[in-house]
Amino acid sequence: MIRVELPGHLRTLARVTGHEVTLQITGAVTLGSALDALEAAYPALQGTIRDHATLQRRAFIRFFACSEDWSHESPDAPLPDAVVTGAEPLLIVGAIAGG
């Protein structure tokens, strides 16, 4: 089971209470499989974190794990063990922008 922390506007959209959701992933725990599982559990999030067609990260969304920036990592890259075990969350963050 992994933990994923969502930005506030996506928690509201997905009707999530609390800052985190938990996901069961079968197979390799990668950034891509974590996002696949997240969108399967919360379909309203499809298209809001990554593009529907290309699966590219949206420009103003970033990923962090274990104090490292994962925004530019391959979707096939295995997430850190601490995220895989649930000790640390995968952070999905809205980039800071005013307005």
């Binding site: 506007h9 959209l13 974190i49 103003f60 969304i61 809205g94 922008a97």
Partner: protein
């Protein structure tokens, strides 16, 4: 007793304003989708409790919302807007080719005959249709694949398809408008489209009478006369009496023929409303006076409606989808401003009152007339 429901989209959420037929006491619900831009909301004429809303943000893109209870509760529906085939390029501001990219939904237009059918006008300009209540969307690709598509160019707000008007007398005819391509019409249910811009004159494009390239801001129709359309263009207020085959200017004595909104009285098809705006650079009311101009002659002769509206130091704008009318016996007229006010007139524009004063900047206003 009838009542009205005003659907207000703003930069930071949606609001639903309701009143009885007197339109004096208003209940305000919202913000729904707080923090998100709500470009447009509209209810189904078939089932008035079925509402559709376009919700978007710079962070997370496009979301579509649907309500089945008049806006009390909402559910997200499909947000996958994929252009048909390889979308190719249109012109960028500097005339160079630019890839077609989906950005947001500007306008939703529920079908006149089926609550589950709804059209969406998007940026970069294209028309989409859903036949399952917004769960899935398919491009009406004949429009974008009209031969002029590669020559379309964005206006200052983006290359948006902002106006969709189904013909109530002909299910196969739809009018749309794009900034800055112009107006188009289909007579075969969307398979093929033709530009309907003859008579428009735009001095800011290389060929002022070009077939496409005109910055149409909004178009309105009275449902009793579907061949008569009124247009607020970037400059000029125009009308056509032959379904867009030709247009004539009817700006007449307006203090500025620039503006965004235009609408038609619910019971008087020759009574129309605009809000003149100073441009090109300013985009606020001339002389700092917020005035709705009404013509009872289908244009050319205009009178300023000022009672209840600020007549000094007012520097708001009224955006293209931010005016609507109700269909009560005494026609109500409503508009919202970038200053967050929504003004209502229960007497066809003679007098005005703010329903609310301090919302986020208003992007759109729609009105439903309901039998309670």
């Amino acid at each position: 007793m009838s009542k009205v429901r005003v659907l207000v989209g703003t930069r930071k959420g949606a609001f639903v304003l309701t009143a009885d037929g007197k339109r004096e006491q208003w209940d305000i619900s919202g913000p729904h989708f707080a923090g998100w831009e709500i470009y447009h909301m509209k209810g189904s004429p078939v089932d008035p409790n079925r509402l559709y809303a376009s919700q978007s943000s710079g962070w997370s893109g496009q979301v579509m919302q649907r309500s089945n209870d008049g806006g009390a509760t909402w559910e997200p529906v499909g947000n996958k807007f994929a252009y048909d085939g390889v979308p190719g390029t249109h012109q960028w501001y500097d005339g160079t080719p630019h890839p077609w990219e989906f950005k947001r939904v500007w306008h939703v237009e529920p079908s006149l005959t089926d609550a589950d059918t709804v059209y969406a006008g998007v940026e970069d300009a294209a028309l989409f249709r859903s036949g399952d209540g917004g769960q899935t969307w398919e491009e009406v690709a004949g429009l974008r694949k009209h031969g002029s598509g590669p020559h379309w160019q964005p206006g200052a707000g983006g290359m948006c398809l902002h106006t969709i008007i189904p013909d109530p007398s002909n299910t196969r005819r739809i009018y749309i408008a794009i900034s800055a391509a112009g107006a188009f019409r289909t007579d075969d249910g969307g398979a093929t489209w033709q530009p309907i811009n003859r008579g428009l004159y735009s001095k800011y494009i290389p060929d002022p009478t070009a077939e496409v390239g005109h910055c149409v801001h909004h178009v309105a129709m009275h449902r009793s006369r579907p061949n008569v359309l009124f247009m607020q263009k970037h400059w000029d207020v125009m009308r056509t009496d032959n379904a867009g085959d030709s247009w004539q200017e009817v700006s007449g004595n307006l203090p500025s023929d620039f503006g965004f909104v235009i609408d038609v009285h619910a019971h008087e098809p020759e009574t129309i409303y605009v809000v003149p705006i100073k441009s090109d650079g300013e985009h606020f009311p001339p002389e700092g006076k917020l005035r709705v101009y009404r013509s009872r002659t289908g244009g050319n002769e205009w009178e300023a409606m000022t009672k209840g509206l600020p007549q000094s130091d007012c520097y708001v704008n009224v955006l293209r989808d931010a005016m609507a009318v109700d269909s009560l016996d005494s026609c109500g007229v409503y508009f919202g401003t970038t200053g967050g006010q929504v003004y209502a007139s229960a007497d066809a524009g003679d007098t005005w009152k703010p329903i609310v004063r301090d919302l986020p900047a208003v992007l759109s206003v729609e009105v439903q007339t309901l039998s309670s």
